[in-house]
């Protein structure tokens, strides 16, 4: 059967994006990707993906705008409070036994998950011995994560989530607010390294004790999910922890034998010793 023109155009556009800029979306889950691409095409005012591709190849300034549609995930601080409670109550006691810690927030987007973990580690007295790596493929998102500024109308939800997660302090201790924005304290970034890193095309860069990567792999197809899980496996210290999204699973992965359930209902896994 002949392919639809639009499907051919999308495939060519993804090839162009990879060959010209080394951003690889070719193994993203197609249905959601297509939806984002359609939004980008409409809002950037291109009638066809071919036209979008032509400009993308000749004008690098289009790249960040396109990436904005393909990668930015809006999250919440302490999204799924029970996940953070499990980190606090079940994972932290193990982490305490290490003199120094490395934590990787993979696909950190605008930084909500990062700040949640930094605040949790501060409350538990672990921040001083920890180095946090916050990575994303979207430079603009990384810059926003580094700024740590969120719309004030989101803070009520963040505060409730923080309390529900077993927070030991008040979230308002960590930000200053003006009429529209909450600016999170720069001290929260003292132990954070922000870095451009792709789960698709980049490699292991440090040995981690905890990796948190939530609602990133659901955008990948099965093959790419498996590749990312392999990367996490290779990046974890023995008996290190991996936390993923509430609707994600290692069940179908070729690497599943390398992990054991640690807090099953919260999708927190521990890498096996061997």
């Amino acid at each position: 059967m002949l392919e639809k023109t639009e499907d051919i155009e999308i495939r060519l556009l993804l090839d162009a994006l990879y060959l010209r800029y080394h951003y690889d979306f070719r193994h993203y889950a197609p249905a959601s990707l297509k939806r984002c691409l359609n939004q980008a095409r409409e809002q950037l005012s291109f009638t066809t993906f071919s036209a979008l591709q032509e400009q993308l190849l000749h004008d690098a300034s289009l790249l960040p705008r396109l990436l904005g549609y393909l990668t930015v995930q809006v999250s919440e601080m302490f999204r799924d409070p029970t996940y953070f409670r499990a980190i606090r109550e079940k994972v932290v006691p193990h982490l305490r036994t290490y003199p120094s810690l490395k934590v990787w927030i993979a696909g950190c987007a605008d930084g909500e998950e990062l700040y949640s973990l930094v605040i949790l580690f501060r409350e538990e007295g672990l921040e001083e011995r920890t180095l946090f790596y916050a990575t994303d493929i979207n430079q603009e998102a990384l810059a926003r994560a580094e700024e740590g500024i969120y719309a004030l109308d989101r803070i009520r939800l963040f505060t409730k989530n923080h309390q529900d997660s077993g927070g030991k302090s008040s979230l308002s201790d960590y930000y200053s607010a003006d009429y529209a924005r909450a600016c999170f304290d720069r001290s929260l970034r003292q132990h954070v390294v922000f870095s451009d890193h792709s789960l698709v095309t980049d490699a292991v860069f440090a040995e981690m004790h905890l990796i948190s990567c939530r609602n990133v792999m659901i955008y990948f197809d099965r093959a790419l999910q498996d590749q990312a899980i392999g990367l996490f496996k290779d990046s974890l210290a023995r008996k290190g922890f991996l936390g993923i999204g509430a609707k994600e699973s290692l069940r179908f992965s070729n690497h599943s034998a390398s992990f054991q359930d640690f807090v099953r209902e919260e999708r927190i896994y521990q890498k096996r010793a061997e």
Binding site: A29, S32, R35, C36, Q73, S75, I218, E248
Partner: protein, 197 residues
């Protein structure tokens, strides 16, 4: 009963259903009417609050002859099974007839969104799709129904007069004037009969 649907029922490969306010009562008429050996998968988005654990699956498991499951990311769609979108995730259908979840932003304030499911389903199944839009107070589903019709699929809308909340079916009928407008009972009868024709 209203006019016989134009699409040959034998060509249908899947049913998608969207519902909002009043969904529970409406689905309670439709889903239990499907026989145990039902030939098609039924993929459902109901608007539910993001912070609630959904009880839809347990509730309908107890009432239905077909299998009822919460949709899981990247699983292959099986015939004779009803899948509910989990709270706070969009549910999409891939061309290879598997399910995908996403945490993209809410659409028309909803996650899961009926439009997101219907548009991806129209793309995956083309003319072999039956879209059913039920009671609701939003505009969600109208775009999705249009996509289903444009791909050659069949659009069935609950009669707004009998709907708990008429806004959603009305919006879909406005977007798809050719949609089949049926009572809940007729929708149930029609869907239940698809495999026998």
């Amino acid at each position: 009963m209203t006019a016989i649907p134009t699409m040959s029922a034998n060509s249908a490969e899947a049913v998608v259903i969207g519902a909002s306010a009043g969904a529970l009562e409406a689905l309670s008429v439709i889903l239990p009417a499907l026989p145990a050996e039902y030939r098609l998968p039924v993929i459902i988005v109901v608007h539910i609050p993001p912070d609630k654990r959904s009880v839809l699956v347990e509730l309908f498991q107890a009432k239905c002859a077909v299998k009822v499951e919460e949709a899981e990311d990247k699983i292959a769609i099986r015939d004779g099974t009803a899948y509910f979108a989990p709270p706070d995730y969009h549910l999409l259908i891939e061309r290879d007839k598997s399910l995908s979840l996403s945490s993209d932003e809410p659409v028309l304030f909803s996650r899961p969104s009926i439009d997101v499911l219907f548009e991806s389903a129209a793309d995956a199944y083309g003319p072999a799709l039956i879209g059913v839009l039920l009671t609701g107070a939003s505009q969600d589903g109208a775009h999705g129904m249009k996509a289903i019709v444009e791909s050659g699929g069949m659009a069935i809308v609950q009669d707004p007069h009998s709907a708990f909340a008429p806004a959603m079916p009305e919006a879909a009928i406005a977007a798809c004037p050719g949609a089949l407008v049926l009572s809940l009972q007729d929708i149930a009868t029609y869907l239940g009969s698809v495999q026998r024709q």
